[in-house]
């Protein structure tokens, strides 16, 4: 179980790193940045697939997507110097909360499904 959470953390980290590199290189149209992003996204997907073998799918996706939005917001603000407007803060907060709630609405079904399995 601890290993599964490690895989989930790695899935989140590789995606955030990939997107950061892509954004950093987007101004100069460097294809290396895009290649790094594609490799990172594919790797993130593999880590996520490993994580969901033990972590419930709904819970894993909620954490992956919710923390992805939150972390990329932090990257946007502190690395790329984006000053968030009030509306943007509201929108991003709604997105993170909404993503968590949608998957919370699914996760219980996943749990029931697991219990129902013989």
């Amino acid at each position: 179980m601890r290993l599964a959470w490690l895989f989930l953390a790695l899935a989140i980290a590789t995606e955030v790193v990939g997107l950061t590199v892509m954004k950093a290189s987007s101004a100069s149209c460097a294809y290396i940045g895009h290649a790094v992003m594609y490799a990172s996204i594919a790797l993130s997907y593999v880590f996520l697939a490993r994580a969901v073998k033990t972590v419930p799918v709904g819970v894993a996706y909620a954490i992956w997507e919710g923390s992805g939005v939150a972390l990329i917001t932090l990257v946007s603000v502190f690395i790329f110097g984006h000053v968030l407007s009030g509306r943007e803060v509201v929108g991003l907060s709604m997105a993170v909360l909404g993503i968590l709630l949608v998957n919370a609405g699914k996760a219980h079904d996943d749990d029931i499904g697991e219990e129902a399995a013989p």
Binding site: L19, T20, M22, K23, S26, H34, M37, Y38, I41, A42, Y45, A49, V52, K53, E65, G68, V69, I72, T73, V75, S76, V77, F80, H82, L84, S85, R87, E88, V90, G91, L92, S93, M94, A95, L97, G98, I99, L100, L101, V102, N103, A104, G105, K106, H108, D109
Partner: protein, 108 residues
Amino acid sequence: MTASGLSFAFAFMAGLLDVAANLASSKSDGFVKRGWGVLSILLVLAAFALLAEAVKGMELAIAYAVLGGTGIFGTAISGRLFFGEKLKPIGWVGLILVFGAVLVLHTA
């Protein structure tokens, strides 16, 4: 930086591809069916290619939130329509929040 219409459209279409990728992933039964598994990875990469276009005209955090919000909304609706997946009331509240978030970010 205000999101331009074109960049927002790219982020939104990236979200739709993310929905398709999630559906293909479900069909692959945890990548046991490799054809569907490969398709889902290709769709995810295509989604992020569109995201790369979107960030040329809007901030990364905004573009990613639009992709994520559209993806989660579309996947939940599609899951219900195609696979009969039930969503608890708290999930519907989440969908309303996600939909609202995309609208707020679009007009930010």
